[in-house]
Symmetry: C2
């Protein structure tokens, strides 16, 4: 036993070399993490141990000249977790986000992950996590397709043509080989067109640029909604095909009858409970719900039109069952997939192990012998 | 403008080279941070923007074999903040803590700090933070002495002889040149003796090993209480000198009349409010208070025997006033000094700047050009 502590640093380039962009492995890992969530072998922060994370809430205005102000996607966030199963690690993702980054050539969010020994707390790895984050976010709806999809789905619609939507499409097309048609709708048609061309090349699907949400939704078997949480897409259930699978990774609103007529499958009911509790603590839950992915659902739960969150189906529980889940072909199936630090840790740990095997990255010394002991 | 992102990595040895152990500068910086808190030019996490941090709460037992279990000082924690003034940075401290580390030759807690650009969120520095943390913790009661002390204090008592108490003593003796006598009480007399010898050598004070709390308290002008939060020291006000200054950095309980007869000065009322709210959310506030430094005060506030936390004096406001604060010589003055991420950021930023100037540490590349943009 030595008190020397070393850890691995992985830049974004190292992460790419180590395989962070390996979509099908990422889907497998996220599937595994969903099963771990289903079993309960994990911890996150907050009073109920399922908080998404802790956020610096920038004020709308300030008398202090340097204080960062609130704005679109402006935040600084830390998401802590312990992930069990064969992972057995603590760690966190933290990031700063600012829409103005884009004009500087920077990503909107700059993310890093640290993995820590669950027993001693010593760092094992610190890594660039932009690709971890987008990969795990995209993989999550694909795990939804794996367990909730029908083998014969042929048409995928994507609402939103940004980087998260692209990650979702790539994962879903990697997972579901039966899909032959991809239709994309975005407020900016040229973005849809550009993404369609990319996806046609990568996956050999037939691409369609939709002029409206309606056009995208109708006749689609699977709908991936990955629009900005700040500009939620309104989904009109009249345009939806009977029995459609809706995968919500971004902001989305729908009329009450959509939610009441859907089989809703949650990623993690306890995280949504934590969101609801935090929203209630602000003193204006209804308004706060508007900024949260599950907001519509929470309102209906508060009004007792939907049951308590504990009673919803969860993807983890469905994934853990050996038999295949049979989707109700008369109702919509809605899978809501929010961000959870356990996903970041799962995929990061896999890439960390690959980096160690392939000797990628820089070993950094924390101390040879700690000064304080 | 380039999208290249580089940051500085500082190991513990680098931190020492850059001056992390410079006590008097650290006191000045922590004083500056207290003034910034007094002005309100900072942000922390949580609903009220003043949460100490987000914690992974390990369960007392678990059916999962690898899950870390609760135990003395067992936690994984992230503390986020924005610090204004001339600092203008976001960042966080995170750490894992486990009392079993000590037998492995590791510190009980293994801490790191990251500093991020407040606008873009890009990392500026990642550093070993064990010394940051102990230095800023020790400096805080010394700032209390600076603003609440009397120039003629000659006898300092320290309750606790662990590393935090040592850091407090060093800072207080650095700040207050009038102190000629140091008395230490610890449950383990040999620890007191060892620390007394160190302090006699370093500061030329006359050292006394006390056999009891009573012996330490009586005749002392300033009392530094830095015992473990898990084994709070009970302070009997009958043993205290009239007008004594009590600096609470660790666990402490006292009978109600102590608190009612003290001028209580808080480090940050809003952080204590956040502690109280979180304790109430557990459903058993009184019991949760027992594990929190300010627990006795919170109970009295709940019972309305003490006013609302907003009405307490704060060190920041006192420090901001140009005239010297005059301590009431008939009452006790109690200063409670809990951990806040803003202190970690303040001292880390200073050391980061010194490291840059002296070319200490390793530059690490996050990316030359981000993959996702």
């Amino acid at each position: 036993m030595t008190a020397r502590v070393e850890f691995l640093y992985l830049s974004e380039e190292d992460m790419i070399k180590a395989g962070v962009q390996d979509i099908s492995s990422c889907i497998d890992i996220i599937d595994e993490v969903y099963k771990i969530i289903g079993q309960g072998d994990y911890l996150m922060g907050g009073v109920n141990g399922n908080s998404h994370g802790v956020k610096l809430q920038f004020p709308k205005e300030s008398k202090f000249k340097n204080m960062p102000l609130d704005g679109p996607d402006r935040r600084f966030m830390a998401m802590v977790a312990y992930l069990g199963g064969r992972f057995g690690i603590c760690g966190e993702k933290w990031y700063g986000s600012n829409v103005d980054n884009i004009e500087k050539g920077l990503p909107r969010s700059i993310l890093m992950v640290v993995l820590n020994d669950a027993i001693t707390g010593a760092p094992l790895a610190i890594m660039s996590a932009n690709l971890i984050s987008s990969m795990r976010t995209g993989a999550s709806p694909a795990v939804g397709v794996r367990h909730l999809g029908n083998k014969d789905s042929t048409r995928l619609a994507a609402i939103g043509a940004g980087p998260i939507s692209r990650a979702c499409i790539r994962s879903i097309l990697t997972e579901s080989k039966s899909i032959t048609e991809l239709v994309i709708y975005d407020l900016f048609e040229d973005k849809s067109k550009h993404l369609i061309e990319q996806m046609e090349k990568e996956f050999g699907v037939k691409g369609i640029v939709a002029k409206s949400t309606e056009e995208a939704l109708k006749e689609s078997d699977i709908i991936s909604v990955a629009a900005s949480r700040l500009r939620p897409v309104n989904i009109n259930p009249e345009f939806l095909k009977e029995g459609a699978l809706i995968l919500q990774t971004g902001g989305m609103t729908a009329p009450d009858d959509y939610w009441l007529n859907s089989d809703i499958v949650l990623d993690n009911p306890l995280m949504h409970k934590a969101y609801m509790e935090d929203a209630k603590r602000t003193g204006d839950a209804e308004n706060t719900y508007k900024e949260i992915m599950g907001g519509n659902i929470y309102s209906l739960v508060d009004r007792k039109e939907l049951p308590d969150l504990n009673e919803f189906k969860t993807l983890g529980e469905i994934a853990l069952k050996e038999e295949t889940y049979t989707r109700n072909k008369k109702r919509f199936t809605h899978f809501i997939s929010g961000g959870q630090a356990v996903f970041d840790l799962g995929w990061s740990f896999e890439i960390y192990k690959r980096a160690l095997e392939k000797n990628i990255g820089q070993k950094l010394l924390l101390w040879d012998k700690p000064a304080g002991v």
